[in-house]
Each structure stands twice: as C-alpha cells, then as structure tokens.
Subunit: 469 residues, 2 copies
C-alpha cells in the first residue's frame, strides 16, 4: 500500500526531492531554518557535474516560484551569491557562524544556486577538461536544469525565473533560448532578470570612458586627447572598443581606464578595501572583462598595508571547513572552494559579445525581462545596459517623465528614491539601483529583494514586499 501510494505520488510528480541531497545539519547555524535546502550534483554533460545548492522558500515552497541564480565571472561561483548576496545563509566570524539574511530571496521563492561551469567552486569535470564556450555553458546549464527537474519533479511546471548578474548577462539569455525550446520541462518559464549584465562588450568599453570622465576619473586633457586622436573629436558614439587595435589609441584608452586603479571599480563610493590575496570576485570579474576585451589587467594600488573593513574571507573559510563540505555532500577529493577560478577564466571562450538576438527571442516569446543596474558600478556600467535596451527600439510605456523613480518601501526614510525605472513594451523593464555597485543584492539587499519580488509578482516596484499571501 505504501509502495503503491509512493508510485502514485511519483507519477503525479508531487514528491521527488532527493533525500540524499537534503542538508540536514549545516554547521555554525545560529538559527533553525524554516525551510528545507539541498546540496548535491547535477550532470551537465557526459563528463561534467555541476554543484547546486537549492534553498526552498520559507513561505510556501509547494506554490512559490522557482528562481535560478547565476553569478558570472566567467569563473565565479554562485555560492558567493548565496552567502554574500541573496541567499538565506550569511557567514560571519571568519567562517565560524551563520546567521539568517533577512532579505533572502527564498523568503518568497525557491532559489536554485548553480555553480557553473565545471571548475567553478565545487563543480567538476571527470576528465579535468574545463574549457568551454558561451554556448557550451548555456547547454550545460540547461542540462543541469533538466536534471534538477528530474530530481525535484514537483517543480516541473512551476513558474520559473532565471536571474543573475555580471557575466550572467551572457549566461542567462543564451540559457533562456534553450529553456524556451523545452516546453515539457519548463512550460512556465516566466522571466529573466539580469543585474549589471555584460550584454554588450564593445559598448561597455565605449561607454566606460565617458562614464569615468563624468565621475571625475579621467582628467579633461586626456579625455580631449582621446577624442581628438581616436574619435574624430567625439567620444560619445566612438568605437573605442574597436580602437584597442590601434597602439596609440590603445595606450591612451588604457591610461584613461587606469582612473579607477586606486578605487573599487565595482562601487566608486565604497570606502573599504578587499583582501589582497586575490581569491575574491572583486578582482576577478574586472580582470575577466578586460581579458575578454583584450586589455591588460589593471594595476590596482598596493593594498597589503590597507586595513580591511570586513571579514572578506568568511565565505572561503566556511565553505572549506571539512564539516561544512560533508554537510553539503561535497566529495572529499575536490580541491579547495574558491570564489572565482582563474583556471576557468583562462581557458574560457567568449563568443557572444552582444546579446540582442537572444533578447529579441526571449521578448518575442512573451517572457518578461528585467535589466537592473547598480548605478555606481564601472565594470558593467548602466549606460551600456540603457543603450542596449534603447537600441531594441521598443516603445517606452508610461508617462513622459524622464526618470520615473521607484522607492524603497520599508524603513525610514520611507520614500527614499531607490533608483529609476523605465518600462518598454513587451514586458521589458530597466531599473537602476541608486548608489549600488556591481553586486546589487549585496550593496542594497532590501531594495534587491523588493525589486525581484515585485518583478516576479507583476507589481509596482515601489510596493513593499508582502509575504502574507
């Protein structure tokens, strides 16, 4: 009788969460989770196994939507997103203790964090080959998602969203196109949210130079020299990316891009410093962007004598604890977890430099799109994203206001401007997050939760998160 019932339930797809993957006891927890979470592996290809950590919703997991989160890099781990940005587990005290993130996205959604591609974090390739292209990653991410649905059949048909940031601007649209073609596993693919996404490499660099200038990071004389020497007198609209091949221009442009050497390029007004040990995403991503663009890595200021404001290595320390790795079902044979992998980056093949075709397909399929940008990031800047959407030539909706603010609805000051929003036909939204850097859910966790909650629930972005229904 029990067997029969189990079979029936399996057939109906209402059970299936893999007991073996459930994390039954996570070390260092200072709270009792009111949600289940799972850590294990999904087969991404014949040789590649992607580690996932899945945090079910603390509201109504059986009804709440499913959200995939992908960090970028390439080479950076989505567990960084889990622990330092939008997941429920925040690590402190040099990896000793874990407290609850009150702004976790799993307060209203089932959130899947996937380490991608192989070589990133706890993900691996059985043959050690970690060379991949954008399209390989898309396919392997898609395969992993199908595997996930196989492991968790109760999520088949669930409202599904894919989200992420940075190089996720490539990962997500290329993945979305594959998801769109699979109505069996993903009949309710509803939306894509891309934060500070690298959706147009050339234009990221074209816009970066004037962005620096208007942020007091390039002196006027050099700016005018670049305009005159390389751009027929006009920086704006200049194919600066294309000028990288001209040695004279290349040197001038690199000189300009050195303007953030003494700053945190991910958040211009951040006042603290990161660990100089080089394992952090906070050196990796910009390095990746420059590498893909064929530019030399910037020379950051020597930071060895600079005090750190926070314990930046909490995530690293925590995820490399033997007890934590056991709890997460990580094979003991795997090497140390790193936030970002240079090995992956060094062999990564970027082939998509501009994501318009993918966005067009996604929009045409009726999947809603949110592009959001922390507005004080210089690594993947908001002007690149604004121009990208503008160039899709969609109709601007709403009133004639230049900038329609959205407001964080929560603590005092209740009505502070969280940023600006622009709505286009076809369910395409562009939202800036004022004063946030590259990592929006880290810099502005409250605003990020409100943003994604309202995006998923088709609500005004200024409305407060409402978990009562």
């Amino acid at each position: 009788m029990r067997l029969l019932l189990l079979s029936a339930l399996l057939f109906l797809g209402v059970v299936g969460a893999p007991n073996g993957d459930e994390v039954v006891s996570l070390p260092g927890l200072s709270f009792v989770p009111n949600f289940k979470h799972y850590s294990g592996y999904l087969q991404a290809s014949s040789t590649k196994y992607f580690h996932y950590w899945f945090t079910e919703s603390s509201r109504k997991p059986s009804l709440d939507p499913l959200i995939l989160w992908l960090n970028g890099g390439p080479g950076c781990s989505s567990l960084e997103g889990l622990i330092e940005e939008l997941g429920p587990f925040k690590v402190q005290d040099f990896g000793k203790t874990v407290y609850l993130n009150p702004y976790s996205w799993n307060s209203f959604a089932n959130v899947l964090f996937l380490e991608s591609p192989a070589g990133v974090g706890f993900s691996y390739s059985v043959d050690g080959n970690i060379t991949v292209s954008d399209d390989d990653v898309a396919l392997q991410n898609y395969n992993s998602l199908v595997q996930f649905i196989g492991k968790f059949p109760e999520y088949k048909g669930r409202d599904f969203y894919i989200t992420g940031e940075s190089y996720g601007g490539v990962y997500l649209p290329t993945l979305a196109v594959l998801i769109l073609s699979d109505k069996i596993n993903f009949p309710n693919f509803k939306g894509m949210a891309v934060g500070n996404g690298a959706v147009n490499f050339p234009n990221n660099y074209n816009t970066m130079v004037p962005l620096y200038y208007y942020h007091a990071l390039v002196r006027d004389e050099l700016y005018q020299r670049i305009a005159k020497t390389c751009c027929n007198g006009h920086i704006e609209g200049c194919d600066i990316f294309g000028k990288f091949s001209d040695p004279t221009c290349r040197n001038l442009i690199i000189e300009a891009l050195n303007g953030t050497n003494d700053l945190n390029p991910y958040n211009l007004y951040y006042t603290c410093y990161y660990s100089p040990d080089g394992i952090s995403k906070h050196a990796h991503i910009e390095k990746a962007m420059r590498r893909i663009a064929g530019l030399p890595v910037r020379t950051a200021a020597p930071q060895s004598t600079v005090p750190l404001c926070a314990q930046t290595n909490n995530t690293y320390a925590y995820l490399n604890r033997a007890d934590v790795r056991r709890a997460l079902h990580i094979p003991s044979s795997l090497p140390l977890w790193n936030e970002c992998s240079n090995d992956v980056l060094n062999v990564y093949k970027t082939t998509h430099f501009e994501m318009t075709p993918e966005f067009e397909k996604i929009i045409a399929a009726g999947v809603k799109v949110l592009v959001y940008n922390g507005d004080v990031d210089t690594v993947c800047n908001h002007v690149m994203n604004a121009q990208f959407l503008s160039n899709l030539n969609r109709t601007i909706l709403g009133n004639e206001r230049v900038n329609e603010p959205w407001r964080f609805s929560g603590e005092t000051p209740e009505d502070s401007v969280a940023g600006f929003q622009l709505k286009y036909s076809g369910n395409v939204d562009f939202v800036t997050v004022r004063g946030s850097g590259h990592f929006v859910p880290q810099d502005r966790p409250r605003e990020a939760l409100q943003l994604i909650f309202n995006f998923v629930n088709n609500r005004d972005y200024s409305l407060a998160v409402d978990l009562t229904h």
Copy 2:
C-alpha cells in the same frame, strides 16, 4: 603711561581688536572656547553694512593666517558656512545647544565669515536698497575687508586667503582682483580656494546634461533626441546653454534637467530629505543657478510627508534666539535671519558668466589657486570646473598618471582615497572630493580641513593636519 603705551601699540598696529564686537558669552555653548571671536558690522558702502563673525585661531592667532569664507547663492549667508560647514560652532537640539566642530578651520587659521551682500542674513542697507551686481558685491566685499583691517589692524600684513563655494565662484575671483590692487592693506594675499564654484555658467549647463546621463538621470532616448535635435548629434561640446532660447530644445533640455526632481541635486547619493519650508540653502542655490540661466525652477517632489533625517532648522532657530542675537550684537530692529534670501536673489544682477579673465590675473599675480569639487554634486558640477581649468591652457605638472589620488590621513581606513588631484603650473590645483556633494566642508569635514590646511601650508594634500607648529 598707560595711555602712552596704548597709543604706541595702536601706532604699531599690534592691538585693535574691537572690544565692542567681542562675543563674550554665546548662549548654549557646551564647551569653553579656547579662542576669541567677534561679531559686528563692517561698512561696505555709504548705505550698506555687512555683518561679520570672526573666529580667531585656536592655535596661534597672532601668527596664523587670515581666511575669508563666503557662501554663495546669491543670497545665502556665510553663517550657514560657519555653523553647518567649517566653523567651530555646531548647533543641535533645535537650536538649544552648541558643540565644538572638531574639524573647524579655525583650528589653524583666523576665519572671517562675512554675510554678503546687504539683505543677506544680518547684513543690511540703511535705505533698504539691496539691488546689486557682481561688481558691486566685489567692491562692497573689498570695502568690508578694508574696514575689517581697520578694526583689527593686527591682521594687516597677515598671510591672507579667500575661500568659499558655489556662487563664491563669482564672488571670490572678482574680489581677488580688487585685493590684488591693494598692497597696502593686503600685502600678503596668498591664495584663493573655490569649492564647487560657478566659474562658468554656460558650461555648467553644457556639462550638466551628459553628467546626468552618466549618472542614470536621463533616459537614453531623450538624451539621443537632444543630441539629434539640438546638438548636431553630439551632446559633448554642444552649446546647450545657447539652446535655451530655442523653444523645442529648451523643453527637451528642461525635461532632461528634471531628472533630479526626486533627488537632492547637491548630493546624488544623499538619502535624507530637507525641510520643505523653503528657507534652506538646499533649495535656494539651484534655484538661483536656474534663474541666472533663464530656466524655470525645478519641480521638486512633494516632501511634506517625507521624514527628515536631521534637524535642519537648527541654524535658523539658533540665530533667531533673542539672546543669541544680543550676544552677536545684532540690532533688534533687523528681521529674522534666513539662510538664503529670495529678496536678494530676485534683484541680483549677474554680469560675470565666465571667470577666466579674473583667474588669469590672479594666477599672473602669483596668488595660488585651489579649485575643489565634491564630485557627486550636480548643481555646480566638477566637469565644468575641470574644463574651466583645462581651458586656461596651463602645463600639467607631475607624473603621467591620469588621476593622482589624494588620501585622507586619519581614521581607519587610513589610506582611503579622498579624491583626485591635478596640479598645473602657476600654483593652480584642481582637487576632487570623492563622494562629496556641493557643500564639501559639510559632507566631508575631515577631508575639507586637511585639504585647506595643506593648501595654505604648501603641503601634499595627503598629509595629515599637523597643529603642533
């Protein structure tokens, strides 16, 4: 014998501080000042009397330099600068108590705060006429300084600096030219420091539109439309100011400039709100700038329901206490003190829209110049100032680094970047203050003190303030 000695001293010019003007007991003080201060009047013209408040140095008043501070507007009071920015007296508790500003500029200098022109704060015109032009103000400020030297002859020949901000970009250079011509009273005129100065009105507006754009305050579609419709395709270098007379362009440009309607335009990343009662400088200056440019005043968001972060009316409440006014020797017949006067602004005649000739004279005379800018101000923006100095065509000194940082030397993090610096031949420095808005000594008081201390003392801007000698 005493009379004889007094006469001799007067002759030698070593005494003279007017006893009648000394503030012997200031209400609400929570500390005992270790410096003298004076409040009284200087005759600026046959009919005009300017109120001054002079805070002597708490170090060595008989040796330390003399610094004039002027707020702008036009119409705003330099007592706002004294209480809210760089003076020793900080008011709290709705005007009830006064505590010591640890970053007061009078920690190393004798600082003269002058309310200018008549109609501003406690300054008045005996015939009620408060209509003045830029040149009138320059002359009246100069006359007031001569009067000051008459009252305080011990400061004759003292190293002398003039400083200020905002519309001080006009007040200071026009005044400097007059001071230069008076070697009798001001034989040691050493320098001028202008913060977020309105040194080039047309270019302030020309640069403001792209500045907004690169700060996510103008949507791409409108920006491109302005470029196409009004600027032959190129915003940068476009005579946007000149396009105000074209109705189509004017409307588009005003629409773009409405991008800060929901923000504090003096500091884009400020998260609090100011009093909606309209007496604050925080509505006045931008209004003044727009009025002078012939633009309509912006429509700020309704703020009546918005909570205030701080007691914004402390200065107003304090300076209108009867006991405070008595202590400051203010005639009881004078009306309420206001931070900024609309009456003055409404009849003010701006005639200097561009300050190059004055700067050229000042530099040629060997007077050193510091132009500094909080870099997140949109009202008098740093690009306008950068281009202004760049267009003086002076030689850039120092190494080839695009942006040479200067660092605040004080608390942790010790080496945080305070901004960037650029040195030109002729003792002309351009310094940005990172993350500061329009009112640098208010937003970044520690950095501002370090900046002005090192400017006066010909030291590297990154050196810590050293009051030991």
